[in-house]
């Protein structure tokens, strides 16, 4: 009677003799790698792969219940959230897992860039990696569409509006994107196909190629200042380094990957558990217009950029800059494939990472509170602060009413309440003179609509009187020439200006 161990060995031999994969895969896992790269800085690629697996598993499980029909998608998410046991948790894992994956892929990319690991002979690994980043972002966007709530609906509208700006083929491309003339069932179906079949298929294939190339060339060694990459000598040097200091990737280096992967998975689980599933928001009914559509976190920076582009360069910017950025990322290793790898000797690279990182972070932060958007209900929800009404004449108080009633507060804040699209009005009279206020209100300009048609002369007058009382601690702005003509040429220029009708109690 053979022992259990002997039987297990025999079974293994039987399988491996027929499969022929276990031995080469074990050998690949145990390949020697330079000891210097068994570092916590080298764990992000494997973490991204683990997150991809998490997304695949949770995605398949969600697909068991999700209904990709315009009529039912939104309610099937409600079903998952409310009725299916643990459905909320699966949705939360998949949703937060997606944000984590975008973040880890970006961190991985920054690490590879700063360490110069994209240089010879790993140029193609980088290029495929750029593709993987774009595919990950594509998964993020299409996944957001599958949530099929108000944000998804209007997000598709924004996507279609951007596509429509492409010259000559804008209309066919809009129809191609939407699968018809409007955002409807066919639109959801094709984004479902993209999210579930097309992009994941390419993503898994590309990730496989990416990992294969990492094995083929070996993980890049820790960069040293002054050790230059040269196409003539690099591979020999790397080989020598591996022979001299090499340790088996599994287990000597891989334990750090495994620990970090576990930490990341725990982080996703904790986030999912404590924050719950993302949405769905309101039902995707385009006749419900009391909505302020906003994209998911990975695209907030883009949403913010679109608010700041001047109209005349916007289309060109939208269509050309992304293409240039992608081309630049793809061509980077071809133009900088040799030379220094260490960040201390590559100040431009470090500066680029800082500038791009800060820019994206700033725009993302702006996207979280959208100061450019009017606050649609501020005119009824944010009253004029009491301190701005005290000691005011009836006419001035009437002006405060005009300010509220004409929706000025949707764009202008008082005491921190109200929209931020226009400047705060707390001390407007210290910046603008009486004439300038009237002109600005009636004619608009500087991104403010003209109110000449919406205000009667009496309303304008009352509004102006009220605004003139708002000058904070500073003196009121005045027109020097007016003061001179009214009070004689010997008046000092800093004299208290003419008071229109202010009633002092």
């Amino acid at each position: 009677m053979a022992s259990l161990k002997q039987r297990a060995t025999a079974t293994y031999d039987w399988i491996e003799r027929r499969l022929g994969l276990i031995k080469p895969m074990t050998a690949a896992a145990e390949h020697p790698t330079p000891a210097s790269n068994a570092s916590w800085w080298y764990v992000f690629g494997s973490a991204a792969t683990v997150l991809l697996l998490l997304q695949i598993v949770t995605g398949v499980l969600l697909a068991l219940v999700y209904s990709p029909s315009a009529n039912e998608a939104w309610s099937s998410l409600g079903l998952l959230n409310e009725r299916i046991p643990l459905g909320w948790y699966l949705r939360a894992l998949h949703g937060w897992g997606s944000d984590f994956m975008v973040a880890i892929v970006l961190i991985h990319m920054v690490q590879v860039f700063l360490f110069g690991s994209y240089k010879f002979p790993r140029e193609l690994t980088w290029i495929v990696g750029v593709g993987l980043l774009l595919l990950t972002l594509g998964m993020s966007f299409t996944g957001q569409v599958l949530r099929f709530d108000q944000d998804a609906y209007w997000g598709l509208g924004i996507g279609a509006s951007i596509v429509s700006r492409i010259p000559f083929v804008g209309a066919p491309l809009v129809h191609l994107m939407l699968g018809g003339p409007i955002i409807a069932g066919t639109t959801l179906s094709r984004f479902f196909a993209l999210h579930v079949f097309v992009i994941p298929g390419i993503l898994i294939l590309a990730a496989g190629v990416h990992i294969w190339m990492t094995l083929y060339h070996g993980v890049s060694e820790w960069p040293m200042p002054g050790r230059l990459v040269s196409k003539a000598t690099y591979q020999r040097e790397y080989h020598e380094l591996t022979e001299k200091t090499g340790i088996p990737f599994v287990p000597d280096a891989a334990w750090k990957d495994a620990v970090f992967a576990a930490v990341i998975l725990l982080a996703v689980m904790a986030t999912a558990y404590f924050f719950g599933p993302i949405g769905p928001g309101g039902v995707p009914d385009p006749t419900i217009i009391q909505t302020a559509p906003r994209p998911d976190l990975p695209f907030l920076w883009l949403y913010a950029v679109l608010a700041f582009l001047p109209p005349h360069i916007e289309t060109a910017f939208m269509l050309i800059v992304p293409v240039l950025v992608i081309i630049a990322m793809l061509l980077l290793p071809l133009f900088a494939g040799e030379g220094e790898r260490h960040w201390k000797r590559r100040p431009v690279a470090v500066l680029m990472v800082c500038v791009i990182g800060i820019t994206l972070a700033l725009f993302t932060h702006l996207g979280t509170y959208t100061p450019w958007s009017p606050i649609m209900d501020a005119w009824t929800n944010a009253p004029v602060p009491q301190k701005y009404l005290e000691n005011r004449s009836p006419l001035e108080r009437q002006g405060a009413l005009v300010l509220q009633y004409q929706q000025c507060r949707n764009c202008h804040s008082l005491d921190g309440m109200g929209g931020q699209r226009g400047p705060a009005l707390d001390a407007v009279a210290s910046r603008l003179t009486e004439d300038q206020i009237i002109r600005q209100v009636l004619q608009g300009g500087g991104n403010m609509p003209a109110y000449g048609n919406a205000l009667s002369p009496a309303q304008t007058n009352a509004l102006m009187r009220f605004l003139l009382t708002l000058h904070g601690d500073q003196p009121r702005a005045y027109d020097a020439s007016r003061v001179l003509t009214q009070s004689g040429s010997d008046a000092p220029p800093h004299a208290e200006p003419h008071q229109p009708s202010e009633v002092k109690p």
């Binding site: 492409i166 003339p181 069932g185 217009i289």
Partner: protein, 224 residues
Amino acid sequence: MNQTPEQPPQNPVQAAAELPPPNPEAAHHSRRAFLFKLSLLLNGAVGAALAVPLVGYLLGPAWRNGGTVGAWVPLGTLDSFPVGETRFAQFRSPVGRADDGDTAKVACWVRRISQQQFQVFAINCAHLGCPVRWFAQSRLFLCPCHGGAYYEDGSRASGPPERSLFEYRYQISGNQLIVHAGDMPTLATQASCSEKRPLTQIQPAAAIAASTTSSTPRSGEWQV
């Protein structure tokens, strides 16, 4: 346990390397090589024949000529739109299907200028398509996404939009206001199908403003 005498090859590549070299005659580009090339050609032809309808199917929605889809749909009776006011209205898209659910609903703003004069604005901001809201007191349309603003006649007031609001063509049929609707309005696909004008690309905002303020819309006409 019995061990099988022969050991399996380490991997297929090594196994191939260990085989005896092929017949040198066969290695020359002879009949078999020619047949292989021919088979590639055959598969290329079959592949092309397969691909053309597949690509055609894929591009089907794009081929539909923009401006030919759509139909006239009633918005409501004239009484529901008081003269001098701008009212919210909605209809079911004539190009929607039953299983489109709520997404086949379309909203618009109806401005009645006089007894017979209307303007029917698309809900979609001309910047990036978000739903604009009408504020009757300040006589402005405001967009929640990036803060585009339009005057009551739909012309651009401020913000990122580079043109006026999209408009639907309308007709008055008895006591009914009917509009022509089809495509979702974007800069390339207009709100209603057009027999007269080609799909416009972006125009300078100044030219748009000039064209919208210089002429008032008349029944049966629409503006870009």
